[in-house]
Amino acid sequence: MSDTPRMNMIQAINSAMDVMMERDDQVVVMGEDVGYFGGVFRATAGLQAKYGKTRAFDTPITEIGIIGVAIGMGAYGLRPVPEIQFADYIYPALDQLVSEAARLRYRSNGDFTAPITVRSPYGGGIFGGQTHSQSPEGIFTHVSGIKTVIPSTPYDAKGLLIAAIEDNDPVLFLEPKRIYNGPFDGHYDRPAKNWTAHPASEVPEGYYRVELGKAATVREGEAVTILCYGTMVHVVAATIEELGVDAEILDLRTLVPLDIEAIEASVKKTGRCMIVHEATRTSGFGAELSALVQERCFYHLEAPIARVTGFDTPYPHSLEWAYFPGPVRIREALNKLLKD
């Protein structure tokens, strides 16, 4: 067994910030409860003790302020990594993200930039109810000037977060909170796994990057291409294994900019495409993926592109496991897609 330490996703994310704060004293982390306490999910634990209160600090509870202040710090020359405690609470800050961070480079013709990385836990599967479960990535992919990154493993989380922090554009870094502690196969009624057994929990201590804009092939296959990201990567992979379908699974990792080459090559090979995400269906990122695939692979498609997504309802509490696009829904959709 290798010497590389094992980390869960929280530890990997913590390590990414640690590495970057060590290398670049312009990197600061901030947000509600991120300072002394180290964040409600402990992603920033230990950073204040190590780097001091002016580099890792708690903030007032105003998302407008957190993002607005981070933009100002970025304009000064810092490289802020603000946390929004839950992605459901990004909305109050939307104007600062959309009208300011995402537009600053363009509107000032490069005079000012917003090199900020907004971290936020997102997604469901933790009985968090309507306001601790949402997946708002689709909204941000519609906003020009901001990159959206979603990791699915500890290794990727660290490497992508480092790349995001080093990126000179604003990056929304959404962390699938359901898999902070272990990959989740979608079977809520089976015992939870932790990361230890997963190869991508081998995470180097030091600096490394996973480039933004590149998808990962989780599994090669010939029968169908499945596009997914975040928690869904594991749900899809487990379901595919159970079904024994020869699917090719792409973990998109970055939604904007998207790895269109990987998608196109895969769908042209398999002739079938399925898209899986937790977010509500209508105008979710799956719609864009579907549109792109049919624009580029039209003559290769043997069946309609299928979307398996959250339903177009608010995220319910008690019916969470009916809402969640889990193994049953993926299997049924796949059966249909392969029959078509």
Partner: protein, 423 residues
């Protein structure tokens, strides 16, 4: 012009980052806290212009003195029966919290939030308002529902997301809603209820109604933009609304300094808008009652909004997901000098000869029984467990008044898929 090089002849700037006085391991010592004596604060006429009593935003309105006597002009002079009712509602709220906290720990639901130590803030306020005034609470004002007689079983049904849940399992536990009880649907997003309360109050005023609105948020939540929007609208239109800021000194792990408490009080925010601001001992149930009564009269006579800061202390964790020993001194809750609202009102009633330890113990027992009975009742409708107590198609109802085709289709698809999968 050189923009990049700091001028060497000027002293460097430094960033102040607030730090609470006590952290884990520290001994909590509040002996230097200046607590104004009970009875000392002036009580202005409710028609007095807001700029005449700024001092009330910086002091602390207190009625119960250290000996348990009700003193001074803010004493609401309630009869003993009313005070016993107040005591009972607070005790019931606490008993409810205890039981539901335990239910969560037993895995019967996903989440719970107590209001321990802060019961006066909701109970006394509810008693001082009319029963049909409208409340826009945060998640820590279960005391309002309890005071207004909303059934405990219904609250528990909601907490369990079970078959009896009036919200059909859609909301996180404790996010109650009861229009009939004048209790607005609780949001997970902080402070959004503030402008909504103002809107309700403005509507009531525009319609020549007599009902007023009140809203609550924590001191940490005052930093949200919604808070400011609400106060701005309220001052502009002189809305008949009461803004309650529950300063329990903690916002999850952040002490009130991160909401601005180092520089001034939260009641002082009111001064910035020309709104009446009162700072009240939030653990003094009579003071909370008096301030609310005053603010309600002010609102009802078209004198506009009042902001009341309730200075209290969050005696327990933020929620069942929180462990306060990780960020504050374990001794803080006990060292907190303003005491416990239930104990203080109890002592007062005993001092008056209107109550005694035996009756109190008996009441506690009875309330514990009441809560237990309600719990049994509620659990007949199921506990959360893995959820799914509602028919699946209810998930698609209520997104809109009528179900549009795409939701109908999704609903049908779900049912069909589950059937095909044999579940």
């Amino acid at each position: 012009m050189t923009v990049d090089a700091p001028r060497a002849n000027l002293p460097p700037l430094s960033l102040h980052v607030p730090e609470p006085r006590f952290r884990p391991g520290d001994e909590a010592d509040f002996s230097d806290l200046v607590v104004p004596p009970a009875g000392a604060a002036r009580r202005p006429d409710t028609a007095e212009p807001a700029d005449r009593f700024h001092e009330l935003a910086y002091g602390l309105i207190r009625v119960l003195d250290d000996a348990g006597n009700a003193v001074g002009p803010w004493d609401p002079r309630l009869d003993a029966e009313a005070k016993r009712k107040m005591l009972r509602s607070m005790a019931l709220t606490r008993a409810f919290d205890e039981r539901m906290f335990r239910a969560q720990r037993q895995g019967k639901t996903s989440f719970y939030m107590k209001s321990t130590g802060e019961e006066a803030v909701s109970v006394s306020a509810a008693l001082a308002m009319a029963g049909d005034d409208m409340c826009f609470p945060s998640y820590r004002q279960q005391g309002i529902l309890i005071t207004r007689g909303y059934p405990l079983v219904e609250m528990m049904n909601q907490i369990y997301s079970n078959r009896g849940d009036p919200l059909q399992g859609r909301q996180l536990p404790i996010m109650y809603s009861s229009k009939e009880t004048g209790f607005f649907s609780i949001s997970g997003n902080l402070a959004t209820q503030y402008p909504q309360a103002v809107g309700w109050a403005m509507a009531s005023a525009a319609r020549g109604d007599t009902r007023i609105a009140a809203t609550w948020c924590g001191e940490g939540s005052t930093a949200e933009g919604d808070f400011h929007s609400a106060l701005t609208f309220a001052t502009v239109y002189r809305a008949p609304v009461i803004f309650n800021v529950v300063n329990n000194q903690w916002a999850i792990s952040s002490f009130s300094g991160f909401a601005g408490a180092e520089a001034t009080t939260f009641a002082a925010r009111a001064i910035g808008y020309g709104i009446a601001g009162l700072r009240v001992d939030g653990n003094d149930a009579l003071a909370v009652y008096a301030a609310t009564e005053w603010a309600a009269e002010r609102a009802r006579t078209n004198q506009g909004p009042t902001l009341i800061e309730h200075f209290t202390y969050r005696a327990e964790g933020h929620s069942t997901s929180d462990d306060p020993s990780a960020y504050r001194s374990a001794g803080e809750p006990n060292a907190w000098p303003l005491g416990d609202p239930i104990r203080r009102l109890k002592d007062h009633l005993i001092g008056l000869g209107e109550w005694d330890e035996e009756r109190h113990a008996a009441m506690d027992l009875e309330l514990a029984e009441t809560v237990k009975r309600a719990q049994k009742e509620a659990e007949k409708n199921g506990i959360l467990g893995h959820g799914m107590h509602q028919p699946f198609e209810t998930m698609f109802e209520g997104v809109f008044e009528e179900i549009p085709w795409h939701l109908k289709e999704q609903s049908d698809q779900m049912i069909a898929e589950r059937k095909a999968a044999g579940i």
